[in-house]
Symmetry: C2
Subunit: 567 residues, 2 copies
Amino acid sequence: MGQPSSLEISRASELKPIEDVAGEMGLGSHLLEQYGRGVAKVDLAAIEDLADRPKAKYVVVSAVTPTPLGEGKTTTTIGLGQGLNRTGRRAVIAIRQPSLGPTLGIKGGAAGGGHSQVVPMERLNLHLTGDMHAVTAAHNLLAAMVDDHLFRGNALGLEPADVSWRRVLDVDDRVLRNIVVGLGSRTDGTPRQTGFDITAASEVMATLALSTSLRDLRERLGRIVVGYTRRPEQRPVTAEELHAAGTMTVLLRDALKPNLLQTLENTPALVHCGPFGNIATGNSSVVADLIGIHAGDYLVTEAGFGADMGAERFFNLKCRVSGLVPDAAVLVTTVRALKVHSGRHKVVAGRPLPTELMAENPDDVLAGANNLRKQIGNIRLHGVTPVVAINAFPTDHPSEHDAIRRVAEEAGVRCALSTHFAEGGRGATELAEAVAEAADEPGGFRFLYSLDAGLRKKIETIATQVYGADGVDYAPAAAGALDLYERRGWGGLPICVAKTHLSLSSDPSLRGAPTGWRLPVREVRASVGAGFIYPICGDMRTMPGLGSDPAAAHIDIDDHGDTVGLF
Amino acid sequence: MGQPSSLEISRASELKPIEDVAGEMGLGSHLLEQYGRGVAKVDLAAIEDLADRPKAKYVVVSAVTPTPLGEGKTTTTIGLGQGLNRTGRRAVIAIRQPSLGPTLGIKGGAAGGGHSQVVPMERLNLHLTGDMHAVTAAHNLLAAMVDDHLFRGNALGLEPADVSWRRVLDVDDRVLRNIVVGLGSRTDGTPRQTGFDITAASEVMATLALSTSLRDLRERLGRIVVGYTRRPEQRPVTAEELHAAGTMTVLLRDALKPNLLQTLENTPALVHCGPFGNIATGNSSVVADLIGIHAGDYLVTEAGFGADMGAERFFNLKCRVSGLVPDAAVLVTTVRALKVHSGRHKVVAGRPLPTELMAENPDDVLAGANNLRKQIGNIRLHGVTPVVAINAFPTDHPSEHDAIRRVAEEAGVRCALSTHFAEGGRGATELAEAVAEAADEPGGFRFLYSLDAGLRKKIETIATQVYGADGVDYAPAAAGALDLYERRGWGGLPICVAKTHLSLSSDPSLRGAPTGWRLPVREVRASVGAGFIYPICGDMRTMPGLGSDPAAAHIDIDDHGDTVGLF
């Protein structure tokens, strides 16, 4: 028989009617639209409607620098929500929507796992309510309008070689990375080189996640820059000038409404947006949090990758837009990750874990603990109280958990073991208590940098204080872009550094907390619609390829018509 | 003040709760999943559930050969449904889902108009429940798996130049018609030339529309041919061999469920699938009709373009798959269309109608009546009773309506004037009575050809008997393909002739009922998954371009956040 699979656990769960889940959040049925069983969209009028209710404690879930396998941040977010409920507190969680491309292209579905899942799992992992597709449609409409503008005489004087707006699809499709369009006859358009990114990498997705209202979305979409006019002017050309932003907004009007689902233990789960974690914020939407913040005692929201990545953007980009102030931050830590940070082990996605990694070895855990210490510091930099959550795996040894507890204790940080994967909320009550205590401490939240510090200064602050670099080196193109952006009046935008999530540094092979290095900025780009500047450090892949044995080759329906192989 | 716009009429309408609409069809709430206000998906279990209820009269709505403006077939379908209800009969209508590409790219939304609309109009014209996007995702997953197969050593021996599976997007984007993919470095795939079609042109869409169950869909998807192995074998390579069909089915499992909406007068409207009308059937789904046929006294279903196109496929492809037998066929006729068929007038999409076309002139109507006569014959060829519906326009003159009535009378066909656009169901009661009488006549439905007649014989039967050609000429490539397909065992598939919808002939400039011509077949392709062979006669555009003043440039939100400019 063995352990039941995540899919079996998910199928055996009892969903509450979603309007009951919403009712517990204070959301009346006039604010809900059902989208299939167990899923509803929440109208943004909920933000106003709930405004008089008490504010929840706001908890962000981050992590140490992860291995390529991920350290269970989503699972911990779900487990913590369930754990808070088990201890008599009303919690709401907020997570990102999974991307269809990687779900089918590499690893199969994921939205937590074991006894900490968001359900209905199949809906969540496939189309959900179509938000990803709406982003795809809005993004590609703008692309078609750009190319049609070139085709119809190019009145705005766009330089074809400087069109930065690509196309997107939510599929892992390597051959679309670099393409030539517009071949064929004269009426088939103007040939030029371009490509597709995955939908999660779309600036439209980043914009949707950072918008505070339909009107705000409309204005941000209008500011999107698709390219530049011919030199020497190099004037930015916007979606507004192409008359695309109105239709893009209308295409996104339902996608702007957060989706409400529930965990296996009926904790409300707002699932909304899924921007990339390197070239964008890696955070779920501002509007979901603006609703969730008045819908319970605790709002637990997830930020992608390690604390240097998602949490830093959570603090300096997302909270700046939302005006919300975090009360505590969870740092998900695994024995496995710290062992890898010792530099003595290596894990590769898609291959079995090496046996020596699983042998009892608290020394290796301690040897990798500098990463945890640095990420604790990164939370504290923002005046927020961290809590270390040890995400327990069956292959862990108690001595290794003790090693992590010791590191946390030395740093003066609360630490809790969490077995939510195997046990659901019951396994996360220690963590829930620790988080509740931390959130009750007097807060001193602060941004890392002021917006008027200048682009270089802001980049350098993140690089030195958060990543531990000695400084920043700009390639000539990057330096030129920064000068140009400041002249264009974009100097006051916040920064989203696009770098690897596999190291605190920009070199994915460096483990622990690397020192004695400088951050090389190869290139700088502007997401003016979403509202940030992103320096690019290293190769950022924005269109994955299918894996050598993708989940898509194993998913099917069985004789009863049920889905198999997704999870 | 003037006449209210279609959008204003739509906004002012009172929607019934969709579960009440479903209840009147005999659909219990266990068969429904709400997808936002006023929209529900219907579970395919409804086919079994309703099987014991009496069978509705089955009415297909077709038309004379249309002008580029269309002659109001959808509006008439909706109006007739409302008219049947007004005369005390319970009607259900079935229509196709509009395509986002043309809606935004050229003309704005459409799902009827005036007082004959399906609502909620915005949902219908934009994403609805995401079915189009699901087709896009399933289609493009297969494309990615094809290219990944080439990239990873091409074990099946696919000839890259003979890969016929392209990609799709629901956008009007001319530069995607002909592209080169796989540029960049080695890990970016194998370069080759290909392109995108609009989603409505996807074989996945055609397959979804012709499937009778989830299992049938699974099997059809597995049979999809993506290309051929190297010569001389030229063996077809299928989605099954690429291990893609299971995941494609799972991606489409919700899209296979028909969408239930309602008309302005609360007539149930099943909206499902939107396959192209030239290279595919141009008919809404089989499963929608299998549900609707037991859900009222009348099921009114629409078939795309003129009776030579959509209705011929309705009879010989869709009814063959569904096993349903039509009781009557409506031929939508307009004064405008017959005047154009006289050869004395011309209309161009996007330009105002010429004044001389609007002057009273029953002689021109009579001069174009051969088209109507031929389309009446095309219905009768299948043993079905036709009814001529004059779709009234404000610019018509009574003498012109009389001219049409005279033509119908001479042909021995019932004829009714319908003012459903201006008056809703009240304006379609004469048509409703005529249709009810026609449907009560003893039926003699027959297929035009037997499946075992051989591919050439089947094509020639359609060309000579339906189109009025003297014969068929095959280009060498077409003849070669037909021979190859028969050797492969596909000779028993039915035929879907891809030709212009603007003429009974294959020359879009020929009006009326052209004689003395031969059908030139340039090329023949196989939709083995959907289950038909399609000879191509003339240029078939499968990816539209944006118009010079697309609707997308005018759609926006107003100060209240309401959508404007869509309609």
